[in-house]
Symmetry: C2
Subunit: 114 residues, 2 copies
């Protein structure tokens, strides 16, 4: 068994919670999009140009899914459509922070040849 | 531009760090595997049975990649091969913790109909 008896409830609950988060944020782009929008509202073209490898169709789909889940909203700014992080989307900041922190540490580790 | 002038370095650095983390932990299974191994060494069959939807070939590949990146190690326990988290793998705990925390909150939000 993956979750042994002594910690069964905690282990099962944790794996399910992680599964829920990955359901919403899985894939290559969503966390990067949320991190980018953490710096302020962005236009579709800015997001597409700024995130290497993402095509317009994929970007459209990812933004739609983030909107459906209440993490991103489409608004107008100076007569243009922009995408902005919602208050609920901002609750991801601690997770995004830990991801960035770990990634920086990992890059240093690699550069030090560990 | 996705990272405007005022925060350019910080924004670019953060997006790259997240990209690095996703490179290692991306996909449906790796974070769940690391979370499960956080509860102690597990045999291949326990991991496969315990993580819904993962087949033996995929599990083999994911474990190999986690091993290559120093996050998991194969060891022997009572004459059987088990997979265990490495000290470096344990540095993921804060990230895994935030993922679980957010997932729990999200599930509650959904159940409360928000």
């Amino acid at each position: 068994m993956i979750c042994n008896d002594t910690e069964f409830a905690d282990c099962r609950g944790r794996l399910r919670a992680i599964h829920d988060t990955l359901d919403l944020l899985g894939g290559k782009w969503k966390v990067t999009l949320m991190a980018a929008l953490g710096y302020g509202p962005r236009r579709f073209t800015d997001l597409q140009r700024g995130i290497r490898g993402i095509g317009p169709k994929m970007l459209t789909r990812e933004l739609q899914e983030l909107e459906i889940n209440g993490l991103v909203q489409r608004t107008g700014q100076d007569g243009k459509v922009v995408y902005a992080i919602t208050p609920y989307g901002e609750t991801l900041e601690p997770l995004i922070h830990e991801m960035a922190l770990w990634g920086r540490g990992h890059r240093q580790r690699i550069m030090q040849g560990n």
